[in-house]
């Protein structure tokens, strides 16, 4: 058998495992950024939705993205993928490996989307939305850009999914957080807002590190090839953008708030990673530093903007994956070089004029709007049909660990707090 085929398959398999491990990062990220009473729920539902998304991807999503006989929206073959290997091509890789790799990406996207549900959605809403997102939202955008759809034909550059994975997830998260409304206690009647601090910054920081490492699978792995060891270049760009994002976020929070703010620093690293995801294979090394740096600034102001608009973005899904996702996608329109633009054209700064920037803009706008509108519609219908997608006020206050699952992530601490709350409830004659 062809050695390249085997090496490509092996490298992409390693990358797929790295991406799947990012789910662990998201568990820690969401758990750390939210309160103790929801920690078990966050951890458990993330594993569950990864499982469910895998099944959905196998039954439908894969075929919708990459299947043949495609219409404008999606492909129509290869459902219930049987594990058959396509005829090995020179420079190709095993279809099974490609399937697992793509499955991991779809799972990351829905995980980001569900971040917008944090701390107040019914468990059943997670179940239904994971299925519908995997059929109606993600496959369409992935097909357009990666599955040979119309944006691919335009030469849209999105190497590893700033748009496909991150922006799509973030737009669904935005729709969800708007429809779910802010968490109890986030905004006051007089218009001021409160900081609902996450319960463990160490979790959040470890999450960022896990995601950062996993991102080498995400970006460098998206070469799906060892040819020319190009993955090394992609990894280099990826790491520098993450670093620049963290540094930029640290500086901007320091300047504006007077102190370097830990959640902002962590978001900055992630924003750098999200932004470089589209451009990592198309831009020079110095440009990746610029792209990451700008993303770090954008995520800081993005979070403040959303808060001012009274949008509760509990785990920064929109300000970390959405806004930097848009910037990252547009960035190739400026920075893509002649030599590296294997897809599309060089950017504005490399003599490509506005052509590529226009394509990037169109791609990001159409994809973002599609993801938002369809997700919003799905959730709106779910709200009507399911009798609401948010837990009751009482359940939200007691926490989703106990209300949705019947046991706590931190049983010793939470049992004690719950007992104290019961004393208060009995004193005020509220049944509990």
């Amino acid at each position: 058998m062809d050695a390249m085929y085997l090496m490509n398959s092996l490298w992409t398999m390693v990358a797929a495992i790295l991406v799947i491990f990012m789910i662990g990062g998201f568990i820690l990220l969401e758990a750390g950024s939210t309160r103790m009473k929801n920690a078990g729920h966050v951890a458990g539902k993330t594993i569950f939705t990864f499982g469910l998304a895998s099944i959905v991807f196998w039954t439908l999503s894969y075929g919708l993205i990459f299947g043949g006989n495609a219409n404008f929206l999606v492909g129509m073959t290869d459902f219930f993928y049987s594990g058959d290997l396509a005829k090995p091509e020179e420079g190709g890789l095993a279809t099974t490996v490609f399937f697992v790799f793509q499955l991991a990406f779809a799972a990351i996207s829905v995980t980001i989307a569900l971040g917008g549900f944090a701390e107040r959605a019914k468990f059943s809403a997670y179940v239904v939305f994971t299925i519908l997102f995997g059929i109606l939202v993600y496959p369409v955008i992935a097909h357009w850009i990666w599955g040979g759809g119309w944006l691919a034909e335009h030469g849209k550059q999105d190497f590893a999914g700033s748009t496909v994975v991150h922006l799509t997830g973030a737009m669904a998260a935005l729709a969800a957080t708007i429809l779910l409304k802010p968490r109890i206690g986030k905004f006051n009647k007089d218009g001021s807002s409160n900081n609902i601090a996450g319960h463990n910054q160490v979790y959040t920081a470890l999450a960022v590190l896990i995601l950062w490492v996993g991102w080498f699978g995400f970006n460098a792995g998206s070469t799906v090839s060892v040819d020319g060891a190009f993955f090394g270049f992609v990894a280099l760009n990826t790491n520098l953008a993450a670093g620049a994002g963290a540094v930029a976020a640290t500086l901007i929070s320091w300047f504006v708030l007077g102190k370097p703010d830990i959640p902002t620093i962590l978001n900055g690293a992630l924003a750098g990673l999200v932004a470089i995801t589209a451009s990592c294979a198309f831009v020079d090394v110095w440009a990746s530093v610029v792209i990451g740096f700008v993303a770090g600034i954008l995520t800081f102001y993005g979070a403040r903007f959303l808060e001012k608009r009274k949008i509760d973005d509990p785990i920064f899904a929109v300000s970390v994956h959405g806004i930097p996702g848009i910037w990252g996608t547009l960035s190739t329109g400026f920075f893509a070089t002649k030599e590296l633009a294997s897809v599309g054209k060089p950017g504005l700064f490399y003599g490509g004029g506005f052509d590529q920037l226009g394509v990037q803009f169109m791609g990001v706008a159409v994809s973002g709007i599609y993801a938002f509108v369809v997700s919003f519609a799905i959730l709106w219908v779910m709200k009507k049909v399911m009798g609401g997608i948010r837990v009751s006020e009482e359940e939200e206050i007691m926490g989703l660990d106990i209300s949705e699952h019947g046991s706590y992530g931190y049983p010793e601490q939470m049992d004690k707090l719950a007992k104290e709350a019961n004393v208060v409830a009995s004193k005020t004659h509220v049944s509990s």
Binding site: S192, S193, F255, V256, L257
Partner: protein, 324 residues
């Protein structure tokens, strides 16, 4: 007051009826608080049913009351010094101190969370034991002891002999002359300031909560002035307790004219801003000033106040660190 018999309850009613007269008048308000507390002591002595105090004593208040900076509501901060170190006096003043704290609480001065009250044996002592205690505090140099010493230094006498408190402050003054390290310990205790001016020169406001967009005048504006001026007062043996009178004593010394330039004016302005926040009706003092609601000139003024406070604080630190 209408009837002859004074009780905690009648004092409370009288206080509530009259306190609103002092809206916008800090000196008047503090004098009124003094009057109320003096009456509480009278009632406490009667309530105690142990007769008149067996020896000369003085009852002092400290904290914001000591500095004449009390708002409408403030916690009690007080202590006692009695002259004779006998068993009779000890038990009498211990009982009086407890009665007094309860009485003040009944009249509307919440108990001090740090237990700086005459009911606490640490703050109710004979003159000799006080001297001993101050020395122990100064020698131990523990974090808590240094805090207590600074609180003690803001004490002023409400009832009784003024001499004692000055004698005690003199103990501190003498000690630090011989042991300059003490001032450094004081300094270490107050080094932390809440950031109020950002690197770009902007005012840093509260990011979240009911006071979003406000600055906390008490912690971000008063603290640097009050603490820095107190250190200088200790260093120079000034026994005045209000920050303004400490400043006016200090500026008489030529070596401080440069350091304390604009200090008095800015601190007076600060007092004015704080006074504008006092609301009697809420029965709750707020120290939060909404920045967005201010005019451009007012914002500039606030910035000037904050910057001057920080500058004086930093320069005093430098001065003390250099060993003067």
């Amino acid at each position: 007051m209408d009837t002859g018999v004074l009780t905690y309850k009648s004092i409370k009613i009288w206080k509530e009826q009259n306190i609103s007269k002092y809206k916008g008048d800090l000196a008047g308000l503090n004098a009124f608080h003094d009057q109320v507390m003096k009456k509480v002591l009278e009632v406490a002595i009667v309530q105690l049913q142990k007769g008149l105090p067996p020896c000369a004593f003085s009852w002092f208040i400290t904290g914001s009351g000591g500095r004449f900076e009390q708002g409408f509501i403030s916690d009690q901060d007080h202590g006692m010094i009695y002259v004779e170190d006998t068993e009779e006096c000890r038990s009498y003043f211990k009982a009086l101190g407890e009665e007094l704290s309860d009485g003040l609480a009944l009249v509307g001065y919440p108990y001090c969370k740090g237990y700086i009250m005459s009911s606490n044996p640490l703050w109710c002592k004979s003159l000799e034991s006080w001297k001993e205690q101050l020395r122990t505090w100064m020698e131990s140099e523990s974090w808590e002891a240094i805090r207590y010493l600074q609180i003690f230094y803001d004490a002023r006498v409400l009832v009784g002999e003024t001499l004692y408190i000055n004698q005690l402050k003199n103990v501190v003054y003498k000690y630090q002359l011989e042991q300059p390290n003490l001032l450094k310990r004081f300094m270490a205790n107050i080094m932390h300031l809440k950031n109020t001016i950002g690197p770009l020169g902007q005012i840093l406001v509260e990011r979240y909560g009911p006071y979003q967009g406000c600055i906390d005048l008490k912690y971000s504006a008063f603290v640097p002035y009050v603490n820095a001026i107190r250190i200088l007062a200790i260093k120079e043996g000034i026994y005045e307790t209000s920050t303004l009178s400490r400043i006016s004593e200090l500026v008489k010394k030529e070596k401080y004219t440069n350091l304390l330039r604009n200090c008095n004016d800015n601190f007076e302005l600060l007092l004015k801003y704080r006074l504008s926040l006092f609301k009697v009706d809420d029965y709750f003092d707020t120290h939060y000033l909404k920045i967005a609601g201010l005019s451009k000139a007012e914002k500039k003024q606030i910035k000037q106040i904050l910057k001057t406070g920080i500058r004086i604080h930093d320069e005093v630190i430098e001065l003390i660190e250099k060993g003067c």
